[in-house]
Symmetry: C2
Subunit: 498 residues, 2 copies
Amino acid sequence: MSAFAELQRVMNTAADLSAAAAVLGWDQETYMPEGSVQGRADQMGTLSSVIHEAMTGPRTAEIAERVRGEMNQYPHRQQGISRAFLRDYDMSKKLPADHVEDMARTAAMAQDAWKRARAASDFSIFQPLLQHIVDLKRREADLLGPTEHPYDALLDQFEPGLTVKGLAPVFEELRAGTVELIGQIGQVQDRVSDAVLYRTYPTAEQQSVATSIISRLGFDLNTGRVDLSAHPFCTNFGNRDVRLTTRIRQNDLRSCLFGLIHEAGHGMYEQGISDDLNRTSAGGGASMGIHESQSLFWENVVARSEEFWTWAFPILRDRFPEQLAGETVRSFYCAINSMRPSLNRVESDELTYNLHIILRFEIERDLIDGTLSVADIPEVWNEKMRTSLGVVPPNDAEGCLQDVHWSFGGIGYFPSYTLGKLYAAMEWNAMQVAIPTVRQQIASGKFDEILAWLRTNIHSCGRTETPDEIIRRVCSRPLTAGDFLAYVGAKARDVYGF
Amino acid sequence: MSAFAELQRVMNTAADLSAAAAVLGWDQETYMPEGSVQGRADQMGTLSSVIHEAMTGPRTAEIAERVRGEMNQYPHRQQGISRAFLRDYDMSKKLPADHVEDMARTAAMAQDAWKRARAASDFSIFQPLLQHIVDLKRREADLLGPTEHPYDALLDQFEPGLTVKGLAPVFEELRAGTVELIGQIGQVQDRVSDAVLYRTYPTAEQQSVATSIISRLGFDLNTGRVDLSAHPFCTNFGNRDVRLTTRIRQNDLRSCLFGLIHEAGHGMYEQGISDDLNRTSAGGGASMGIHESQSLFWENVVARSEEFWTWAFPILRDRFPEQLAGETVRSFYCAINSMRPSLNRVESDELTYNLHIILRFEIERDLIDGTLSVADIPEVWNEKMRTSLGVVPPNDAEGCLQDVHWSFGGIGYFPSYTLGKLYAAMEWNAMQVAIPTVRQQIASGKFDEILAWLRTNIHSCGRTETPDEIIRRVCSRPLTAGDFLAYVGAKARDVYGF
């Protein structure tokens, strides 16, 4: 008998326990009482240790080696699943249980500290726990290595095969193109006003209209839901329980609307993963970069297009007739695509966004190779903001405390966002060839063919293929910054008229 | 070195995993999307199997036997913890992993089926899963036995040492006293009207006032919260994360108000368990009967007393001035203590409530010993309602589908409610001796001394003592129905004036 049947049991156990941990994580960010953080940290630590044991114990090791030896004879799909498992297995084997447990427990505590630090705009509240996280991540890079640069080991966890060296030329091309466009826009900056976005929009109405839009896009609310949290995220427990969160700002229409469409892009990816991959190591997104390509595809390519608002603007105006009085599809489209350097990554535009990522990439790289100390983050952050984007945060809450990622140990994650942008532009070019009427479909609020194309080409294979394999198969070439620069350049010229 | 330190690690792991399972259970009843039940069932099944393994694996077995051999030399507190662990361990050893996993998975599915069955008032939707649960429970009784009556093994899980034989005389005394009082009240039934309870009370206001009352009683909202669910419950993940749920009916003031005070009674018990017992086998209530004594103490002894409403009625009238116009403390007190046979256990009065329990006790006993088949439950339920309470449910939703307990496999649980009533009356007599001004304190909305007494005498010891030890220590004698019959008789005579 093939070892694959036994592997299924191992993967089922690990997937179920990981799903349980994800439920606890979701609960912590949404409903958990404030005074309960210590207990949750203990529970997360224990769960991660049990998952680690399930993935690396002697029985699993025996099955893993049998699978490794015989998988060449498996059917194609089982090969993909086995490969995903072995990637996780080999990585888990390198990380001792005490390290994994310490990381999980620290993350639960750090998320609480980060929240308090951000509320008080006081980096020192977060600093000791961030120091512990950086120490753990440096140890982790060491355990996973050797790699050419220690940060490579962390990048690889989110985007298999990604390295500092491989990323450098792509980021340089992107930075140069971005800086050039920012310069051109700077000369005609006042041609576009985004004032409409900052009028007063009642929060309940915002959530209601955003939820109805994501439902129309294809997010299934029968196997998903929407809640509030300090930092928006998407999590899932299998492909039939997908949770999105959003935050709503009364005086900023973007936060809930585009934030929720973004998270729904993640959510539709998870909902689109084939049932046969559920509860296996391949039952998830292929990488964080591919995941972000889905969220950014819906948020930017679709929902920041003029066609989209041809359909959606009347709906929005029905909900907010006073706030949108005098606005047109065109003026609203320009407003949501205004491009200008700003402080906040999540709320920045498509163009300047990538400079926020490059800044984080550099800080993380230097933290991990030891050339930057945690205590110096606020100062370095502000200095890099000044030289890169020309703006300086007035406080840490709006500066280096704005993102949740470090608090859960997600060092190496940020570059995925920019990869997602680059992949999304490439996918969009492929989709326009495959579905010649795609722009007209968007303009009439028809999204089923788009979703079906993403399901067939990207979602359904889960982690059975690598990001590189998916992108080459779907877009007929490897990663490039060119498609994105062409896409964003065309939009900038359209919106600003230069 | 003593094995106790190693036992601590085993208990910590088991407690953390059980807490994780409880979070998933809470989520399923409150926020989980409708279409996600299969995945949740898988997760619960896997978690229970992992917990079972943690409690019974070879390493645990070795530690357990070392603890059993040396625990006589442990300090008193460690002995109590070890005893609680060994009780769980010995019970777990008797139940094979496949049984436990099947039970957990079936329970997750059955809770969904029960909800749908109740909504449709169609027992047949629930019947196949209930049949599976009864089969599993009969097998469980067999595995845990031998006992004189197979149902004894299930009773013992909720109330250590409780048997059909031991319960019979207590229930007979209680039934006789209850029937006599019902007869006396029946002759003057129209002296009390409870119409005030069924006026229109907006749900948000109901939840708000009930939440502020439980906070005043001493339920800590910094380590607890309140949500909505189909059937009210209290669950907890350690002593610092205690979740209550309630249901609110616009035209029934009792459901949310007394329901939430009831659940807060459970919650304050869990919040009062000593920190040193957290994450051990003794970190929970001593038994379901003792647990119910706490919820019923607050719900009935405190919150259905005339003294309580001397303090609380003005608060309630401020919130609902129109609905309570013309009512007095006395008339309101009489209304909430009206006693009359009715269909619904949760909403029945203190007196007739126990007849609902005796009915369920008899049905469960007969299901387990095989003299009653699942298919016959609706008919037998209705017949017993007719002979025992003189009322017959118009449909299954108001009859045999009204309770959640069977759907999660809680067969043997119901008698705990009546034990709780009997214990609560005994505790109240002991408290009145210990705190002579207790009635005046309640009348002035002062509950801290009451809670402190319960903490010291009952909560803080967790499961380090048995229910029988606790009751004998606190009340200076063993279980009796006498205190309760005297208490409820005095109230009936006061309210109905006979």
